[in-house]
């Protein structure tokens, strides 16, 4: 029951990068297409789940005044594993994400979950939390990537979605479009949760 709750809260209640406004740099930089967004999300999820597990297993041994340094070393080790694996098996994606793969180390979502959750809770709960937040982040990045790809290059997963004469809205795949697209999506999420709250309040009264 509680495991399920720890998992599902990552999908909506605290879904990054909208509710937890963390991990913005990769969100803005790599979501030029749905595929890149999903790749980044999956790499982050891998690191998040394993670092949560290890932090949780070691929580009784890590002295609290050096815990941040210890967490960073744990996270960095898993990032190196992801980096080497992606170099070996998914080289085109590795090239597309570029510098943002080593930068998973400083993605505040991962350190944030280690500090706020895994450092205090058991290993199973920490895995559930890591999976939930990671999958929530992956979905967010994929949706944002799809949105920008459809408008910016007129394709989705590399397939054309518009008629042949369609002029793509290149602003969306360039740097300024990233900020605007994320801002608009954040406003949309705010709008939906406001409406949901209103409905809940009406149902109670």
């Amino acid at each position: 029951m509680s495991l399920q709750k720890e998992f599902t809260k990552g999908l909506w209640e605290i879904v990054p990068p909208f509710r937890l406004v963390l991990g913005l740099c990769p969100t803005l930089a790599v979501t030029t297409s749905a595929e890149n967004g999903m790749g980044m999300g999956m790499a982050t999820t891998f690191v998040l789940v394993f670092s949560n597990l290890l932090v949780s297993l070691l929580r009784k041994f890590i002295p609290s005044n050096v815990r941040i340094a210890a967490y960073i070393v744990i996270i960095a080790s898993f990032v190196v594993i992801v980096e080497l694996m992606m170099q070996a098996y998914t080289f085109p994606l590795y090239r597309a994400l570029g510098i943002f793969i080593p930068l998973i180390v400083v993605n505040c979502i991962i350190l944030g979950r280690a500090e706020a959750f895994a450092g205090k809770r058991g290993p199973l709960e920490s895995i559930a939390d890591g999976l939930g937040v990671g999958i929530g982040y992956t979905i967010s990045l994929t949706v944002l990537g799809a949105f920008r790809e459809i408008l910016g290059s007129g394709t989705l997963w590399g397939l054309k979605v518009f008629w042949s004469g369609f002029e793509p809205f290149t602003f969306m795949v360039r740097a300024p479009g990233a900020f605007v697209a994320l801002g608009v999506m954040l406003a949309l999420i705010n709008f939906i949760s406001l409406k949901l709250e209103e409905r809940k309040r009406r149902a109670v009264s």
């Binding site: 406004v21 740099c25 941040i68 510098i99 080593p102 300024p176 900020f179 406003a187």
Partner: protein
């Protein structure tokens, strides 16, 4: 490179390839500390200082430790540890010798370890195969570009208090849209430096 080339290099790093608005590095603190002008200037000073130091030290670590020992794959771990240690060291030294500056920058220093601009620039320095002087120049001018964008943005954001913003856009959402327009303005500088 001649003097003119260096000028172009610096202007390019500050305005055209601004690390914040064109390369998306260091966005979390950008949105986090830009609500007020004084915190934005404090953060800017801390970033200029740490980024320049970190750029130089990671360059030395790469070429004098990692390359000779043939362990370049440990770059990520080595760099983040160097940056974390550097930030800690700067904090201790500053608290002892420059208490006034420490009080001004104090709370921003620990935040810088997880500012991806620092690690990002350190990695770019290596990937672009800069020599030591280029590294120094690039790190410093990137940090200046970061500060410029951060301070300008804080100036705009302070005015939000007086503007009527729709409820769903309040907070981070309007900040992001504004940053988008700033990035659009900065992309106009692309014509300054020919490719």
């Amino acid at each position: 490179m001649s003097f003119g080339d260096y000028m172009l290099f610096i202007i390019g790093a500050i305005l055209v390839n601004n690390i914040l608005l064109a390369k998306f590095l260091g966005n979390c603190p950008f949105l986090g500390v830009s609500r007020r002008m004084d915190t934005a200037t404090g953060m800017s000073m801390a970033v200029i200082f740490v980024l320049t130091m970190a750029g130089m030290i990671t360059w030395l670590v790469q070429y004098y430790i990692l390359v000779p020992l043939d362990i370049e794959y440990l770059q990520t771990i080595a760099f983040i540890l160097v940056i974390a240690a550097l930030v800690q060291l700067v904090e201790i030294v500053m608290a002892k010798s420059l208490p006034a500056l420490y009080r001004a920058l104090g709370i921003f220093l620990p935040l810088i370890t997880t500012n991806c601009a620092v690690l990002g620039v350190a990695i770019i320095n290596i990937q672009a195969e800069y020599d030591f002087f280029d590294t120094l120049l690039f790190s410093f001018s990137s940090a200046v570009g970061y500060s410029l964008a951060l301070i300008l943005f804080a100036g705009i954001r302070e005015r939000f208090a007086m503007a009527r913003i729709p409820k769903v856009f309040q907070g981070t959402a309007i900040g992001l849209v504004t940053a988008g327009f700033m990035a659009l303005a900065f992309s106009g500088f692309a014509g300054l430096v020919g490719h």
